[in-house]
């Protein structure tokens, strides 16, 4: 029989996870196609000029990539947890409200619509440069989010909202398919590459936009903790203890849209993490309490993404695997193992 973990055990687990992040962060910086000695990596991080090319690789490539991994892992896991609690559904994740499909529609239009509307999109694409896809994804995600958001104000039950989100996913998916059908192989490829997801595309300038938004979203989630716990009892009990469920729902949706939308814009849709990490956290910490789960998913998500980033960096090879495949390939078995071992999904969503 499972029992609640003792407070000390929890503190121990959190410390271990935190040390894991530090460890994997350092490993992630050392790991790569160009081998740089450990002590040199530390020297570069301390601000020393060791070797121009090494300095460049560490500071402008590996460090932003590692930070992106942490932000993606933490951000998507938090939003996944919020969605699973809101919808009381173990399959919910950051993308159920159509945010990733909105973003991919934006990108697909930007990359491929020149076939249908030559000129306009091409011009925008050219003038925005490296920001083109980011802007397209943000606009796409915002539009879909706006529509789903309006629906969420009108609809007062979460299950209908979930279905509407999934329907929007299908509709945008269909539009993207049509665009793909009419586009050239080159356009198709650049779209497909975007859907693979990538942590390495984020520059320091982009980081200045991405990091604050993700951090703000996570802080917002922290403020929701108290109400989310009550929401676990069901919407009627939550109302009974004084929660305006509608207000919490809107808060959760805005938080998710902000975090997941921003991350998707900069890294492409990173599948799986958002759905899986809350399950892993629940099974490790044996609780449904958000006071424990929220910091837990942040840490576990970050650790997992750093691991995935290292795996995608094949040693002795210049190329990297698409991060999207790695998260599923590596994370899938982990989740299956967790579910078989602890049956915690049933305990959380019976």
């Amino acid at each position: 029989m499972l029992f609640r973990l003792k407070k000390n055990t929890k503190i121990l687990l959190f410390s271990v996870l935190f040390l894991c992040i530090l460890l994997f962060l350092i490993l992630d910086l050392i790991w790569g196609s160009v081998s740089i000695p450990v002590e040199k990596v530390f020297a570069i991080l301390m601000g020393e000029e060791v070797k121009t090319s090494w300095n460049y690789i560490i500071l402008n490539f590996r460090l932003p990539k590692a930070i992106t991994a942490i932000l993606v892992g933490a951000g998507l896991s938090v939003t996944g947890l919020l969605m699973q609690t809101l919808f009381r559904n173990p399959l919910a994740g950051p993308y159920v409200l159509g945010i990733s499909s909105g973003a991919s529609l934006g990108v697909a239009l930007m990359v491929m619509a020149s076939v249908i509307l030559p000129g306009v999109f091409g011009l925008v694409y050219a003038s925005l440069g490296s920001w083109a896809l980011v802007v397209a994804a943000i606009v796409g995600a915002s539009v879909i989010f706006f529509i789903v958001g309006m629906a969420s104000i009108r609809i007062s039950d979460s299950v209908s909202l979930l279905i509407i989100g999934i329907m929007f996913g299908s509709i945008t998916g269909a539009v993207v398919s049509i665009l793909q059908f009419f586009s050239t192989p080159e356009q198709l490829q650049s779209f497909i590459v975007w859907t693979f997801g990538s942590l390495s595309g984020v520059t320091w300038i982009e980081m200045r936009v991405m990091a604050p938004i993700v951090v703000a979203g996570i802080i917002m989630a922290v403020l929701l903790i108290k109400s989310l716990d009550a929401l676990l009892l069901g919407e009627n009990y939550a109302r009974g203890v004084g929660i305006s469920v509608n207000r919490i729902r809107i808060g959760v949706i805005i938080c998710t849209a902000l975090v997941a939308g921003t991350l998707t814009a900069f890294t492409g849709p990173v599948a799986f993490i958002g759905v899986a990490v809350p399950h892993i956290a629940r099974s490790i910490f044996r609780t449904a309490s958000h006071k424990v789960l929220l910091p837990a998913v942040i840490l576990i998500g970050a650790v997992l993404m750093l691991c995935c980033d290292m795996i995608s960096q094949l040693p002795g090879n210049q190329s990297t695997l698409p991060i999207n495949s790695v998260t599923a390939l590596f994370g899938g078995p982990v989740v299956i193992w967790v579910i078989i071992r602890s049956r915690n999904v049933k305990a959380s969503f019976s």
Binding site: M1, K226, D229, A288, K291
Partner: protein, 347 residues
């Protein structure tokens, strides 16, 4: 205690109309001009057949649904519909629905009752902790604090939710069919608990239920609802004696028996049978025979008679001049059935 305070009304409804607002056309009104009260320390049971509007009345009082007219006061404060934060300090609810989450500790669930009083981040003060401990003690679950909710039986789960309502520290507690999923011992236990809580904590407790017999035994007063009729309010015994309960639950296949306080099922009557002997054994024999479809009587019936022997617990059946003695009712019933079938084939 100040008697004036003791008889103070905790809940008052004034000219309340319940029903549904329709977006098109006129409102659908279930019941109007409802004026009800619950006094301090009183346990009130809301009774009525399905579809009589029990849930709608409960939802309207709890502020989950807007009244079509009128208003509700809890300790003289009006319930504003959907103003959950304010309502949560006036009344707490226990619902029929089972929690869908399993891995929350009992302590955590009860602590959620403190939600309306805790700070922004939900930190529990010493007073909060004290109240949670008290609530767990009241429902007899002190040793269960660290257990997960999915490790508890249905009766224990219901007690956890009652503890949550107690922790909410409201003058009124409302329970929607609190005994619905429970077996008889647990049902009785929950009603006893609620009765004790009402008396000891001076709260007003309102519960809706289908358990007529339990309600008649435990309630201080009963609100009796039936379709399209004004709610009848009274002490259980008054409602029984006035025939209100009989009338509300009137039906072709059974009726409420004023003498026993039970429902009696109507069976198709085949033939008359005379039972001689009248004690406990006579009561249960009559029950078995009416289930079998006999019209039990104490008057003389030719050729069909059962004489009870209370001392040896035996049944002497006299059927068409033949005597037979039985030590168990089962054998007696089987022989009667055989007799009936042979009668049918002869015809």
């Amino acid at each position: 205690m100040d008697t004036k305070k003791y008889f103070k009304d905790i809940l008052t409804t004034k000219q309340l109309s319940i029903g549904y607002k329709e977006s098109k056309g006129p409102d659908f009104c279930l019941l109007s001009d409802i004026n009800l009260t619950i006094r301090r320390g009183e346990l009130v049971c809301l009774l009525g057949p399905n579809g009589s509007g029990k849930s709608t009345l409960m939802r309207t009082i709890a502020g989950l649904q807007a009244p079509l007219a009128g208003y509700t006061l809890v300790e003289d404060i009006p319930i504003k519909e959907r103003n959950f934060k304010e309502i949560a300090r006036l009344l707490s609810i226990v619902l029929t629905e089972r929690l869908s989450v399993g891995n929350l500790s009992v302590y955590h669930i009860v602590s959620l009752g403190r939600h309306p009083y805790t700070s922004f981040m939900g930190r529990l003060s010493d007073k909060d902790v004290e109240i949670i401990q008290w609530a767990l003690e009241q429902v007899g679950l002190t040793g269960f604090a660290d257990k997960f909710i999915n490790q508890l039986s249905d009766g224990e789960r219901q007690r956890v939710m009652i503890a949550k309502a107690l922790a909410q520290d409201t003058p009124l507690i409302m329970l929607d069919e609190p005994t619905a999923h429970l077996d008889l011992p647990n049902r009785v236990e929950i009603m006893r608990l609620l009765r004790r809580l009402a008396q000891e904590t001076d709260k007003a407790i309102l519960l809706s239920t289908h358990e007529l017999d339990l309600a008649l035994q435990a309630a201080d007063r009963i609100w009796l609802m039936s379709k399209n009729e004004a709610i009848r309010v009274g002490v259980p015994e008054d409602l029984v004696l006035s025939g209100s309960i009989e009338k509300t639950f009137e039906n072709n296949s059974f009726n409420f028996d004023r003498k026993s306080g039970n429902f009696i099922m109507h069976y198709q009557k085949k033939a008359a049978i005379q039972v001689v002997g009248n004690d406990v054994m006579g009561f249960w024999t009559s029950r078995a025979l009416s289930r079998e479809g006999y019209q039990v009587t104490c008057e003389e019936v030719a050729d069909c008679k059962i004489i009870l022997d209370e001392v040896n617990r035996t049944w002497n059946l006299i059927l068409k001049g033949r005597h037979k003695t039985y030590t168990q009712m089962e054998a007696l019933i089987l022989d009667l059935r055989k007799h009936e079938t042979s009668k049918l084939t002869q015809n």
